[in-house]
């Protein structure tokens, strides 16, 4: 059943994706987003939706994209439920809620990391291949500061320390190796940036391996939550908090280190948004990302902004690693998969788009959690986790190459 529905959806999505731009072009209308709208409409409503779209040829506002998008997801979900009635994602509501909450929590942290990558891209025009290594270093620094060098140091203080150090490494690296891109001393700045950040990634990973060894590290949880039952100790159906777990609504149980990490990510996101939208320097950063020359004319030094952006980007990666070192075991190559995921997120959200990185993080977190939770074959469900992100990436590149929030080319 599911296979037939999928085949039907893919077939009409292809027809819609290919034909709609042509029809709009023939009618001399704006072709932006027509491929995506056609594909979504075809997937959701098949020939009927396409006939409506082609006949009316409306201006493609968000509503024309969102409605068929939601319908297509619902159609897929319904077919899945009919095919696998016993699947936990169909029969067990609390399982689904748990997966969604887990996905959103990890998505927040992925988003924080991707935000750093997209910030660097939007201002320097460089895709940093060393982003995952800063994630790794952030975690290592918190571990070493709070466990080895200064045992007993509050991990939240160590977190700030890790943020500062990753920021400084980023600043120094930008001054030494990336500044030359803007002075005309490098013949092919794009390729140069890829190679030099790639080199940095290897350097940092193997240097860390040489310094700290391969034994996995893990910081103890940052916060022990107080014992709390709400609304009443006899019947804590809304919230039940213990040192190691938090349980909502009697069903969703989350380990407290994850909750802490998600709270840290949220606070950082708020601070970052405040910084970028409310302070002079933040506005200057955004101005440089919009138009470098125009920003320079108004008295903003683009080189300083480059340094600042790279430092902030590496700091965000460092912070997401720092907040996760209490959740996962930490080894020098832990950044490799994380940085691959960050690339997927920023392409999905739109290269250089800050809200895009955030929303992209949440989407990837959700899809990974639901994919691993719902794929019927237990042998494959978790083994395919890295692939789920790639499937979304492929779809986005096919249907909307600029990403969800990307600037139109």
């Amino acid at each position: 059943m599911l296979a037939y529905v999928l085949l039907w959806m893919v077939l009409w999505a292809m027809v819609g994706g290919v034909m709609t731009p042509r029809i709009y072009a023939r009618k001399d209308l704006d072709v932006a987003n027509t491929g995506l709208a056609g594909a979504l409409m075809g997937a959701a409503l098949g020939p009927f939706g396409l006939a409506l779209l082609w006949w009316r040829s409306p201006k493609l506002t968000g509503r024309w994209l969102a409605t068929p998008g939601v319908l297509a997801v619902l159609l897929f979900a319904a077919a899945f439920a009919r095919t696998y009635p016993g699947n936990l994602c169909v029969s067990n509501g609390s399982f689904v809620v748990t997966q969604v909450v887990n996905g959103l929590i990890l998505g927040l942290i992925y988003g924080l990391m991707a935000l750093g990558l997209t910030l660097i891209f939007s201002i320097l025009g460089v895709v940093s291949f060393s982003h995952g290594e800063f994630y790794m270093i952030g975690g290592m620094l918190v571990y070493y500061m709070s466990v080895v060098w200064l045992p007993g140091l509050n991990p939240l203080v160590a977190l700030v320390g890790a943020a500062l150090i990753t920021f400084l490494i980023g600043v120094v690296f930008e001054r030494l190796f990336l500044r030359v891109m803007n002075t005309g001393q490098v013949e092919r700045p794009g390729e140069y940036a890829i190679l030099v950040t790639f080199g940095l990634a290897f350097f940092l990973q193997y240097l860390t391996l040489a310094l700290v060894g391969a034994t996995p590290k893990k910081a103890p949880r940052f916060l022990d939550y107080p014992r709390l039952d709400w609304p009443s100790p006899e019947n804590p159906w809304l919230l039940r908090m213990r040192a190691g777990t938090v349980e909502f609504l009697d069903t969703v149980s989350i380990a407290t280190p994850r909750v802490t990490a998600a709270l840290i990510a949220m606070v950082m996101l708020l601070i970052l948004m405040w910084f970028l939208y409310r302070t002079w320097i933040g506005k200057a950063l955004r101005a440089v990302s919009e138009d470098r020359q125009a920003a320079a004319v108004t008295g903003i030094n683009p080189d300083t902004m480059n340094t600042l952006a790279f430092g902030m980007g590496t700091m965000l990666a460092g912070l997401s690693g720092a907040s996760l070192v209490q959740v996962f075991s930490w080894v020098p190559w832990v950044g490799t998969l994380a940085s691959a995921r960050a690339f997927v997120i920023i392409v999905l959200g739109g290269m250089g788009s800050l809200p895009g990185a955030f929303v992209g993080g949440l989407i990837v977190g959700l899809v990974e959690a639901l994919g691993a939770g719902c794929i019927p074959d237990p042998q494959r469900a978790a083994a395919y986790i890295p692939a789920y992100g790639m499937v979304i990436l492929t779809l986005v590149l096919l249907l909307k190459p600029t990403g969800l929030f990307g600037r139109e080319l």
């Binding site: 936990l88 067990n92 399982f95 748990t98 997966q99 887990n102 996905g103 990890l106 030494l176 190796f177 500044r179 030359v180 002075t183 001393q185 350097f203 193997y206 240097l207 391996l209 040489a210 310094l211 060894g213 391969a214 034994t215 996995p216 590290k217 893990k218 103890p220 190691g244 777990t245 149980s253 380990a255 280190p257 994850r258 996760l324 959740v327 996962f328 075991s329 930490w330 080894v331 020098p332 190559w333 832990v334 490799t336 998969l337 990974e368 959690a369 639901l370 994919g371 691993a372 939770g373 237990p378 042998q379 494959r380 469900a381 978790a382 083994a383 986790i385 890295p386």
Partner: protein
């Protein structure tokens, strides 16, 4: 002016980077593909000043190479020293190789010549393993190869060994097919995956009251067949098994753990290796299905107690499998090696793969000595007849060309296979317990205490 200042800055920074790398690299990192960096410095090198190689020497004239060959006996070694391989395992093996090499050279080397060990990184990747093996054979001209940790690499490398007719003693590759293809060049001292599965299944059945087991395995040449053979063995004993698998390097297991919870297993068996297993075990404990909630056989890396407790603080009552003689039955050889190994690494116990690495090299050295030459056929014949006393006990290869599997009435997987690596099941019974104090709970003959079964 500005331009030249920048160039100086860059040069200075580059020099600093190179110096830092040069200072750090030899301690832990070997890379394949760049011969000078890939060469492991032999610890007994002071005794062999002639073989110091300068970069670029691979273009040395033939007679020089021949002279060098005459001065030392070169043995190749494979181990995963970078991700995605198990670097923890690789580094333990490296330390063990160094101890074995020191002992061999102190005892006068092999055939009266010092042994030079060339250790190459396989990163746990079959293609990198094949490249490493070809480099060892073609560039370094080794006479034999020992080691390796990952089955996937072993499966690929045995083909190269066959092609070039170079004897190999595999240390820690468990996949049955490695010996089952019955190549004359291939020997193994690690246990067979299917035999380990049988021990796991018997142990699970011995606990009583277990009807359903969840197997959490890794998506590799070791993990998938190991899960399959365990499922078969469990089915023979009337126990149902459900397998979940994940890639090595997976950090987040929350979705899978919720699914495992819904299966309501009576027991969990973890076949994922390395830090990935720590991630799974601790997250399972946080979700309420950890070793203190239901019986769990953790991965054998739990044997590194210091790192286990740091990464799995809620992991008390975990069972784990230990390969090699239990402490009470240590031979003088095991004891001597264990002391040297613990002194060198600062660890509280010896991991099985360290013992296997140590034995693989010493075994090969003894075989070459007994063969009286570095000819491959002579070494293979010596290996078939060997009786070697080492850290794992007395190693022999009873199923061989004179006693093939058909004649011996056994399956082909027993070809050139060390038949009796002792396999025991151990349990941590106190939080923070040292692995050397952990209680041996299975099998009967090695038992030092009763298992504590959570929830009973």
């Amino acid at each position: 002016m500005l331009r030249s200042r920048r160039v100086w800055w860059l040069l200075a920074a580059l020099t600093a980077l190179v110096l830092a790398l040069a200072a750090c690299a030899p301690a832990n990192v070997q890379q394949v593909g760049s011969p000078p960096a890939a060469e492991e410095e032999a610890p007994g090198e002071e005794a062999m000043p002639a073989q110091e190689e300068a970069p670029g020497e691979e273009a040395a004239p033939a007679e020089e190479a021949a002279m060098e060959e005459a001065e030392t006996i070169k043995i190749g070694a494979l181990a995963p020293l970078s991700a995605p391989g198990s670097v923890t395992g690789g580094e333990a093996m490296k330390a063990a190789f160094e101890i074995a090499l020191e002992e061999i050279n102190e005892a006068g080397g092999v055939l009266g010549k010092p042994v030079e060990l060339i250790l190459v990184d396989t990163a746990g990747q079959p293609e990198q393993g094949v490249a490493a093996m070809e480099k060892l054979i073609n560039e370094d001209k080794v006479v034999a190869v020992v080691g390796e940790y990952h089955s996937a690499v072993g499966l690929a490398v045995k083909e190269v060994a066959r092609q070039y007719h170079i004897p190999v003693v595999f240390a820690e590759t468990w996949n049955d097919d490695i010996t089952a293809s019955m190549y004359p060049e291939v020997f193994r001292i690690a246990p067979l995956s299917s035999e380990v599965a049988a021990v796991d299944a018997k142990f699970i059945a011995s606990l009583g009251g277990i009807e359903k087991v969840v197997i959490m395995t890794e998506n590799t040449g070791y993990g998938i067949p190991a899960a399959e053979s365990t499922t078969e063995r469990l089915a023979e004993l009337g126990i149902e098994a459900v397998t979940f698998s994940a890639d090595l390097g997976t950090q987040d297991f929350s979705a899978i753990i919720e699914r495992i919870k819904a299966e309501e297993p009576d027991m969990i068996l973890v076949l994922v290796t390395g830090e990935t297993s720590y991630n799974f075990e601790q997250q399972a404990a946080e979700a309420g299905i950890g070793p203190q909630d239901i019986p769990m056989i953790c991965n054998q890396v739990a044997g590194d107690s210091e790192s286990y407790w740091k990464n799995v603080p809620d992991g008390n009552l975990c069972f784990y499998r230990r390969i090699g003689l239990p402490r009470a039955l240590y031979t003088p050889e095991t004891q001597a090696f264990a002391e040297k190994y613990m002194a060198r690494t600062g660890k509280a116990d010896v991991e099985s793969y360290a013992m296997e690495a140590y034995d693989s090299l010493k075994l090969m050295a003894q075989a070459i000595n007994e063969a009286g030459s570095t000819d491959a056929d002579a070494i293979i014949e010596a290996l078939e007849n060997i009786e070697y006393q080492g850290a794992l006990g007395t190693i022999t290869f009873p199923v061989n060309s004179k006693n093939p599997p058909e004649a011996a009435g056994v399956e082909p997987k027993w070809w050139h296979q060390f038949p009796k690596p002792a396999i025991t099941m151990v349990q941590y019974q106190e939080p923070g317990q040292d692995s050397k104090d952990a209680v041996v709970v299975f099998p009967e003959e090695y038992k030092t205490g009763e298992p504590i079964i959570p929830g009973r």
